[in-house]
């Protein structure tokens, strides 16, 4: 895999998190492909090697398309989404970026680790940690996220009020 492509995708991921850190949710949404799948399976404590995110009908913390992601953003813009009012202080970190597959340079499978710190009014500070398994697609308008599976490394997770 070319170093240039890795650098390019790393830049895309960093730019994406800049948007989320700075409440540019509409611009972030514009990075989503029209048939995006954005999902996070629940975790289980099973025998080593038995956890299978492809198991049919396994519950998900969320499993979204462009429409439902848009609803989440619209909700946050109402001013009465109380879980995020006043807005939490959020900082996104991305690391360990790897390109696993590329169909030429048109469609690229990228994995990365994330940490998202959140502090809310008078409440406990929360760290969300995990990995993302992405497919990014190159379009005339730039890179678009086609699929993202988010694997949270939490047994008991906090309320997920932020995008990762």
């Amino acid at each position: 895999m070319s170093t240039a492509l890795l650098q390019e995708l790393h830049g895309v991921l960093v730019d994406e998190y800049w948007l989320l850190d700075n409440d540019q949710l509409e611009d972030w949404l514009a990075l989503m492909d029209t048939d995006i799948r954005y999902w996070a399976p629940v975790r289980r404590d099973l025998d080593r090697g038995r956890e299978d995110f492809s198991q049919p009908h396994l519950l998900t913390h969320f499993d979204e398309d462009r429409t439902t992601m848009g609803l989440r953003v619209a909700r946050l813009r109402t001013g009465s989404a109380h879980a995020e009012e006043p807005p939490s202080r959020v900082r996104h970190f991305v690391s360990n970026v790897r390109i696993l597959e590329a169909d030429g340079v048109a469609r690229v499978r990228v994995t990365s680790n994330f940490m998202v710190f959140r502090s809310r009014s008078g409440r406990e500070e929360t760290l969300f940690v995990g990995a993302r398994h992405d497919w990014w697609r190159r379009t005339d308008a730039g890179w678009r996220l086609h699929e993202r599976m988010i694997v949270f490394d939490h047994d008991l997770i906090d309320n997920i009020t932020v995008f990762v």
């Binding site: 099973l46 499993d63 609803l71 909700r75 879980a83 997770i157 997920i160």
Partner: protein
């Protein structure tokens, strides 16, 4: 009552319909609840479909006690404390599976799916064969009963039957759980998340607080997904109502236009409507596939909405903590497409990331986290809405009132007060 046992019944004023903030913030109240409520109430532990075969198991909690639910070699569902009799470590630390022996990691004592102590390392050389193995099996929860696939257990051997305990609540639960011939199964996995807040704030809300929707979930109404228009509903008393079911249980029924459904889901609903005419009474069948929300006292709630059914346990974790465990149920014969639609709807709306449920967590955390001060604790919370205006009706059980009312919510605290004022039972 022994002199040493503090009576907390003054924290709930049944004449004025008020509840002290201390009920939600004080550690001594919490400790007393564990002894007086959780040792003698029917507590939800599993869905039968999660342990279909002999030696299948699932781990869960009854209050603070970790439990192991097994189906034994004879096919009977058993519930044991998940705790080795030697030093107490959990003998099973996995969520679910199938195994005939549970080996404690610490010193290697092993138990079978009937709870019998089987293997003890160095039985001859260290215990001189003097250990009475038959007396050191897993501690068994004496009462296990099911209602339409929901398995409940009770530490109190003398407790009334689950059916008697549910009473009127059983009639309402049937509207969801018995609406189809095939019955329901649990989808794989469990939504588990941790909230600040007191477990009772969650339980009371699901047991009869429709009032909060317009304010706390205002954002949902603003984006067109919450209940619009008249808050009493289109059919007050008929399909839009709340119920004080007795024994602390409460139910909310609300009929909303679900809009245009995906074709597969619409077909699924039609099938259920046809079957419900056979499996339910006409009065129950008239209510299927509306929004149902209810709490079975003390700490399991159900919400059925847009085709999904979440059964969630509010695990008490100190006065200011709740671990939510939510399982998803769906008709056993639903097509894969329908299961996917309902799974996604459950995650979107009622889950750790749910666009309704996120906001509930903020309210419960705020109350339990900030309102334990000495001064605030002197002033009770108001639960007076609608008392004296409920009705009994010929076609459905319980005390009925259209939204909004707090007769069901306060019924939860009447039951709580009753149990907190009496001595706990002898338990295993």
């Amino acid at each position: 009552m022994p002199a040493a046992m503090e009576d907390f019944s003054d924290l709930v004023d049944v004449d004025r319909c008020t509840v002290s903030p201390r009920v939600f913030t004080r550690d001594d109240v919490y400790r007393a609840e564990q002894a007086r409520i959780f040792t003698r109430s029917w507590l939800y532990v599993a869905h039968e479909s999660q342990v279909p075969e002999p030696h299948d198991y699932l781990t869960a909690f009854m209050g603070e006690e970790p439990v192991l639910i097994t189906r034994d070699a004879d096919g009977r569902i058993r519930v044991f404390l998940n705790s080795c009799r030697h030093r107490g470590m959990r003998v099973c630390r996995l969520d679910h599976g199938n195994q005939k022996l549970f080996v404690c990691p610490y010193h290697g004592w092993s138990y079978d799916s009937s709870g019998r102590l089987r293997g003890v390392p160095q039985l001859e050389t260290a215990y001189y064969n003097e250990l009475e193995r038959e007396k050191w099996g897993l501690i068994e929860v004496p009462r296990v009963e099911s209602f339409r696939g929901l398995v409940f257990a009770n530490f109190d051997a003398q407790a009334e039957s689950l059916a008697d305990h549910l009473g009127a609540m059983g009639w309402y639960l049937d509207i969801v759980l018995n609406r189809s011939r095939a019955g329901m199964v649990a989808m794989p996995g469990c939504h588990r998340w941790r909230l600040e807040g007191n477990w009772k704030l969650a339980a009371e809300q699901f047991g009869g607080d429709n009032y909060h929707t317009g304010a706390l979930h205002r954002s949902m109404i603003q984006i067109g997904l919450g209940p619009q228009g008249d808050y009493r509903g289109e059919h007050p008393w008929v399909r839009d109502f709340e119920v004080k079911c007795g024994n602390g249980h409460g139910w909310i029924n609300f009929d909303v236009d679900m809009g245009e459904l995906p074709p597969a889901q619409a077909a699924h609903f039609e099938q259920i409507r046809a079957q419900a005419r056979e499996t339910l009474s006409p009065a129950q069948a008239d209510l299927i596939l509306t929004i149902h929300v209810g709490t079975v006292f003390p700490n399991v709630s159900i919400i059925a909405f847009m085709g999904f059914t979440s059964v969630r346990v509010w695990q008490p974790r100190g006065a200011r903590g709740i671990d939510v465990w939510s399982y998803g149920l769906i008709e056993r014969d639903a097509s894969p497409e329908v299961v996917e639609i309902t799974r996604k709807m459950m995650g979107l709306t009622f889950s750790a990331s749910g666009i309704f449920e996120q906001d509930d967590g903020v309210a419960w955390g705020d109350i339990a986290g900030f309102q334990g001060g000495v001064v605030r604790s002197r002033y009770p919370f108001n639960y007076q809405m609608g008392h004296g205006h409920g009705r009994t009706m010929p076609d459905k059980p319980g005390l009925i009132h259209p939204p909004s009312t707090e007769i069901g919510v306060f019924g939860f605290y009447e039951r709580w007060r009753e149990l907190m004022a009496t001595e706990p039972p002898d338990t295993p």
